[in-house]
């Protein structure tokens, strides 16, 4: 007999897409939350992957979204499929009457899709959160509780990311059974550079863009001053708004040494948050406030933002917490899209100048 009527039953989770993120991030996070969440269904277009990953957690498996959404044991849906499927799958999950939806970032590819999602979420009452794990990190949340007026007074913001290849940390987190094939990009092709920079903003910078936006009240007036590609994968982007200077740095290379920091400065207070690397369950970020000669440190806490987002989902699904405003999600997305578009436009302009100089 089903345990659905059992007052102590855990919430059922279904996951769309069983690639490395699901294997290395979500399943280990959920394994730490067995008292409140249970994986009940894994879907992947590759039946062997779906079956194998589902077997790890004793879940049902399928190759179609309809099968997962039709499974009454699934109450929370996590969307970990390729970016282009996110919007339609979020909408389908809401319409299927699930209790909460987690969508990996970005949750849509344009503002129109985001608005559609928002409308469906409002209509169905199904809460949605986007898997921007740093916004659920206890280190970030501790900073939020202690930053006073810094978001209003900060004038300079930095995000700096140095990451080893993903596989290094995936292998610390689990035993991966599939990985996307890598390529050898032609960096002499401007289209490759533009694609890499757009991918860098929407795939890497996007982790911290909601944090940056929190410190940038005039985020709609963002301007890219210069964007440059870092080989093999990364970026140096200088931005500004009328009141803020924003510097984005990222490099993914073959180093063993990760570094992931967010910084905000006002005239008299600075905040630095050092995040733990993706994939591994290495505890929370550490937030450090410096006010002249006084330094205050918050963290580390025992869990990271991945676990934090699952705790949040469980609270949303049970009604213990209220969902974030849809406008917040839309603004986060459009902020990222605006920066990605402006970054590509800046590179195009640089290329045009270089071409002109050679003509």
């Amino acid at each position: 007999m089903s345990s659905h009527t059992d007052a102590t039953r855990t919430l059922g989770v279904g996951i769309l897409g069983a690639g490395p993120v699901t294997q290395a991030i979500h399943l280990p996070s959920l394994a730490r939350l067995g008292d409140i969440l249970t994986v009940r269904h894994i879907m992947d277009v590759d039946p062997a992957v779906a079956e194998s990953v589902a077997a790890r957690v004793g879940a049902a498996h399928s190759t179609s979204i309809e099968a997962l959404l039709g499974d009454p044991n699934v109450e929370i849906v996590a969307i970990c499929s390729p970016h282009q499927f996110h919007a339609e799958q979020v909408i389908a999950a809401c319409r299927a009457g699930k209790k909460a939806v987690l969508c990996e970032k970005p949750f849509a590819m344009n503002a129109e899709e985001a608005a559609q999602i928002s409308a469906v979420s409002e209509e169905t009452g199904v809460p949605i959160i986007v898997g921007a794990m740093h916004t659920f990190d206890p280190g970030w949340l501790a900073a939020q509780e202690n930053w006073d007026h810094l978001p209003e007074t900060a004038h300079t913001i930095r995000s700096s990311i140095v990451l080893p290849p993903n596989a290094r940390f995936e292998d610390f987190a689990t035993e991966i059974i599939t990985r996307p094939a890598g390529g050898a990009p032609d960096y002499s092709d401007p289209e490759v550079i533009k694609g890499a920079l757009r991918g860098g903003i929407m795939g890497l910078a996007i982790h911290d863009l909601p944090l940056i936006r929190r410190f940038t009240p005039d985020f709609k007036d963002i301007e890219v001053l210069e964007a440059r590609h870092v080989r093999p994968f990364g970026y140096v982007v200088s931005l500004r708004t009328p009141t803020r200077t924003i510097e984005l740095r990222a490099a993914m290379n073959n180093t063993w040494k990760p570094e992931w920091s967010f910084e905000a400065f006002s005239d008299d207070v600075s905040l630095r948050i050092d995040f733990t690397p993706s994939y591994v369950q290495a505890g929370s970020a550490v937030a450090t406030f410096t006010r002249g000669t006084q330094t205050t440190i918050h963290g580390p806490f025992e869990h990271n933002g991945y676990e934090g987002e699952w705790r949040e989902l469980a609270a949303l699904a049970t009604g213990a917490k209220q969902p974030p405003s849809a406008q917040t999600l839309i603004d986060d997305l459009t902020f990222a899209l605006d920066i990605a578009d402006a970054t590509v436009a800046n590179v195009e302009a640089q290329h045009a100048v270089a071409e002109g100089a050679h003509a």
């Binding site: 004038h155 300079t156 210069e226 590609h229 990364g234 200088s238 006002s266 008299d268």
Partner: protein
Amino acid sequence: MSQQHTVRATPEAQEAGAVALAVASLPESFGPAAGENQADIVVISGRTGWTAQAVEAIAAGARGVVVVNPAPESTGSLRTAAEESGAAVVLDQRWASNPALPAAEHAVRSMAGRAAVLDTVATAPAGTDPGELLADHLAAVVRITGPLENLRILHRGTHGYAVSARLANGAPVALHGVLSSARPAGVNVSMLTDDGGVSVALPKPVAAWPATVKVTGPQGEVLLPTLYESAHRATWRRLKEHLDAGTSPTDLHRFAALTESISTLS
């Protein structure tokens, strides 16, 4: 035992260069000049016009000149005066004079051909002139990296600046200046390669906080030996070595290259 050289500093230089402390920390080599007697070493502030002041000091008989925080300006006539008289002119720069710089330079240049990116941030108290900070910042960076290509200011304002450049191998260089009193002033430089890199953290010279230079590679990370000596004292120790050996510092040659770079920015 070497000769003790007498020292006289202008009030502004005395404060900016913590001259009394530096001289007191090298008591066998330097001491204050008595009364109105001509000093062997003259210390001047690096405010605009410092090269003319230095020329005057040499003409008046100074054997050595220490310039504290020199602003960019043409050093041609001063170099001539120093060469003709044999006077030693050393520059006491906020970060470029840190005694860790030679090791940092060696570490960075031995990897620079494989550099993927160099990111550097200078911090100074709110209210600092961003142009002054940029000059000090750039002096430290080029001391480590050598000349930068395609230097370009992206923006400059009351809260800092962003400057773009390239290393010789084409890798992007980003210089970011932040004006905030939240943290101690300092410069951080991070150069990444395909499998590691070098990071340098330079403190302000008011105390003997050591700079840190870390070299990262596939085998791990090495912290180079820490030197608990301020940039001010390192400058004076270098001056003493030149005076004792009768050699000429290369400070002015280096500074001429820096001044030229900065002139392309304005």
